[in-house]
Symmetry: D3
Subunit: 179 residues, 6 copies
C-alpha cells in the first residue's frame, strides 16, 4: 500500500495547469482540488440518499478520492495538451501501474468515473465541475481575470441529471458570479 500512498502524495506537488497557464502565481494543487471534490461529493451523495435516490455513498466517496490519482504519473495535462495526447488512455494505463496487481479492484471505480457508468461516477463528475466553478470564483474574487471559460461548467451543471436535486445550490453559485 505504501507505494500507492506515495503516489497520492505527489498530487500535493502538482499544480492545476489550467490556473497556472492563466497566470495565477501559486495555484491550487491537484490534491487541493481532489480534497474539495471529495468533500462536495460527501454532501451531495448524502443529500441524494435523503431524497430517496438509490446511491452508494461509500462508492461515491471512493471514486472521488481516486478520480485524479492517475495524475501522479501523467500530471494535470491542460486542454491544449489533450489535443495531442490521448489522456484517457494514458490515465488508464498509469492507473493500473499505480494500483498494482494487488489493488486492481479499485481500477473499476476509476473507470466508472472516466466513463460515467454509474450514478456514483456521474455524481463525482458533477462534483468535479462544481468544484472548478467555485475555485474560478475564488480566484476572480481575489482579482484574477481571464477565467470566463471555467464558468461554462455552470451550463454542464444545469444540464446534468442532478440539477433538479441541487437547483438551489446551482442558483446560489450563479449568483456568486454577479459578485
Amino acid at each position: 500500500m505504501l507505494k500507492i500512498f506515495l503516489e497520492g502524495g505527489k498530487l500535493k506537488k502538482l499544480p492545476r495547469m489550467g490556473w497556472l497557464l492563466r497566470g495565477i502565481p501559486k495555484p491550487e494543487s491537484v490534491a487541493d482540488h481532489a480534497f474539495c471534490v471529495t468533500l462536495i461529493t460527501l454532501f451531495l451523495a448524502d443529500e441524494l440518499r435523503k431524497k430517496g435516490i438509490n446511491i452508494n455513498v461509500e462508492r461515491a466517496l471512493k471514486i472521488a478520492i481516486l478520480h485524479d490519482l492517475a495524475e501522479a504519473r501523467i500530471t494535470d495535462l491542460p486542454l491544449d495538451a489533450q489535443i495531442y495526447i490521448d489522456k484517457k488512455k494514458a490515465e488508464k494505463k498509469s492507473m493500473i501501474d499505480i494500483l498494482g496487481a494487488e489493488k486492481v479492484e479499485y481500477f473499476e471505480l476509476f473507470q466508472d468515473y472516466e466513463e460515467e457508468r454509474s450514478i456514483e461516477g456521474k455524481l463525482v463528475k458533477f462534483a468535479d465541475k462544481l468544484e472548478m466553478v467555485l475555485q474560478a470564483w475564488e480566484y476572480e474574487k481575489a482579482g484574477f481575470k481571464g477565467l470566463e471559460e471555467f464558468w461554462n461548467a455552470v451550463d454542464y451543471l444545469k444540464q446534468s441529471e442532478f440539477y433538479e436535486y441541487f437547483k438551489t445550490l446551482i442558483e446560489e453559485i450563479e449568483e456568486l458570479k454577479t459578485y
Copy 2:
C-alpha cells in the same frame, strides 16, 4: 451546502504550520494533507474489513474528510500555540458554526475523531499520523532538516491497536528513514 464548500475551499490556502515554522518555503496546504489522510483511510479501512474487522468504511471516509475542516476557521495552530489556546474547544465551536443547524449530524463524526470514540475515529487518527510521517520523509528526502520530532509519530503507530494489521506497512515506513 454552498457555505460548507466555501469553508472547505479555505483549507487550500492554509499552510501546515509545523512545516512552515521549520523553514520549508512552500509547505503543503491543510487540504493537501486532508486529501492524503482520506486516501490512506480508504485503503486501510478496506484492508481491515477484508481481514474480518467490523468497520464502517463509509463512516471512516467521512470522518477523514471532515477531520480538519474546523481549521477553515481557526487555522492550523502549531503545537506552541496550543499551550495557550484550547484547540479542541475552539475546533468544536467553530465546527458547529461551519456545519450550521442543517448539517449538525456531521458534528458527531467530527467528535468521533477528536475523542477517538469508535474504530473509525481511531483509524483516521492513525491515518493522520501515518500521513505526517510520510510527508516528513518526503521533505527529508528533498533535503530539508530539523524534522526528527515528526518521526516520533512512528512510535504512535507501533503502539496503536491497528499495528498488528499493518505491521508490514509500518516496517516499510521505518525503512524509508534509513534512506
Copy 3:
C-alpha cells in the same frame, strides 16, 4: 536574549492571515508588517513631539517593535478564529513565556499596546491600522480585490484622538483609494 531573537525571527515566516485567506498568493509576513508599523510610529511620534505633545518616543518605538511578538507563538489568528479563541489572553500568556523571567519589564509595554493605556500604546494602535490601510491599497493597486473591509480602518483613523494632528496624512490616504 538569544531565545527572544529566535522568537522574533519566526515572525518572518508567518504570513498575515487576512491577506492569505483573501487569496493573495505570497502575502507580507508578520515581520514585514511590524517593520512598517515601527517605521510609521517613528515619524508620527516625532511629529507629535514637535507639535508639543508630551510623548516618549523611545517608549513608542519599543511598543511598536514588540506589539506582534506574541504571534511567534500563537500565529496571526484571523478574525474568524478570534470568535472561538480568546486572542488577548493567549497573547499575554505567550508573551510572558517569550520574554522569560529576565525580561519581564517589556511585558508592561506589550500590555500598554493591548489595552491602549498610554499615549504611546494608543499611537502604535493608530500606526497599526494606518499600516494595514496602506498595505490594502498596495494590493488593490496591484490588482487584488475583495479588500474593501480593510478600508474601514480609515474610519478608525478619523475617529482617533490623533486625527487632528495627522489630518493631511489621512486625507492623502483617502485620496489613494480613488486611484
Copy 4:
C-alpha cells in the same frame, strides 16, 4: 508571429517537472532552462568552429531556441508520464500547430533536435544534458537532495562525440560534484 511569441511566453510559467516532483519548492521554468541551453550552445558551437569543425552556428542557436517550444502545448512531461504518452509524437504534432503554416520551415530544425540528424541537433542535445547537470549541481549546493540520477547525464556527456573537444569542461563539471 504574435501567436508564436505568446506560445513562447507560456514556457515562463511551466515548471520543470523533474525538479518539482523531487520536492524543490520553486523550480526553474522551462524558459529558464531553454535560455541556459541556448547560452551554452553559443559558446560550444563557436568553440567547435574555432577548432575547425564544420558547424553552422546560426542553425545551432535556432535549434536551441526552439528545442522545448512544443512544451508550451504539452507541458514538461516527467519521465513517469512518458511511459504512457508518446512524447515525441505529441511534440511533433503540437510543434506544427504552434508554428502554423507560415513558419513551417522551423519545424525541420525541431526535428533535427529530436532525431539528432545533424551536428547542430546533436550539439543542442549535448548542451541540454550539460545544462541539466549544472542545475542539479546548483540545487545540491543549495541543500536539495535526491538528485543523483540527474548526474547520470555526465556519462552521456562523456560518451558523446563532442567529449574530445570539451574534455576539460566535463572534467571541471565532474569536480563540482565532489564539492
Copy 5:
C-alpha cells in the same frame, strides 16, 4: 567556459524588478525574459532577411543571448535605482569580468546592444521592448494592474526604424490592449 555558464544560471534566480516592485507575487526571472527576447529576435531577424534587409542573424541571436548577462553580477536594477547608479558603466565592467580574458570577443556584441551600433544591436533593443509589452499584457490579462507605463514601450516600437517591417505585428499587439 564553465564560469560563464554558471553566471548565466544566476539569471534564473533573479526576478525582474519592475514587476516585483509593482506587487506581482512570483514574477518572471531575468532568464525567462532573455529567452523570449531571443525567440522574438529569431523570428524578426529571419523576417527582415527575407524582406531583403542586410542583417546577420547569427550575430543578432548572439546579442540577444548576451544582452542581459551582466545582470548576473549587478542584478536587474529598477528604474528608481538607475537615478543613483550608472548602470551602463557597471554593466560594462561586470561583463568584462564575466567573460574573462579568453572570451573578450563577446564583449563587442554586448556593447553593440548597449550602444545600438549595428542593425543587429538595434533589433535586439526592439525585441527587448516588444517582449516587455507582451509580458505586461499577460499580467494585465491575469488581473494585475498598475502596469500602464510599460505600454509606453509601444510608442518606442512605433517610432523605430523597424516599424515599417512589422506594422501588422505592432498593430496586433496594440489590439491586445483593448482586450
Copy 6:
C-alpha cells in the same frame, strides 16, 4: 510623510539577494531583516544602558529602523554588484530623495550607521551582523547549504567593541553552529 511610508513598504517586496543567489527559494525580505535588526537593537541597547554605558536608546532604535531604507530605491545589491557600483554613494543620494527636504534631519542618523560615527551607529552595525548570522543558522537548520561565508560575521562580532558586553550571547550563537 506618506511618501516615506510607501518607500518603507517597498522593503517588504525586496528579497535579500545574498540568500536568493544561493538558491533559497523564498528568502526573507529586506523588511523582515530590518525588523529583526531593530528588535535585536532594542535588547542590546537597553542591556548596554543597564551596564552603565552611555547610549541613547531612542537614537539607536531610529538608526536601526532607517538603516536599510535606501534599498527601497537601490534594492539589496549583492556583494558581487558592489564591485561595480559605489553602493554607499548611491544609498546616500537616494536616502536624501526618500526623506525629502522636510525630513532631512533623519539623514544624519543614516550617515551615522554608514560611517559608524557614534556608539548607536556602531551598535546597529553589530545588530545587523548578528541578525545575519541567526538567519544563516535558521536556513542551515532547515537544510540549506553553501552559507558558510555568512558565519564569518561571527568573527566581526568577536572583534567588536561590544563583544565584552555580549560574550555569553555570542558564545551561545557559536554553539548553534555545532547543532
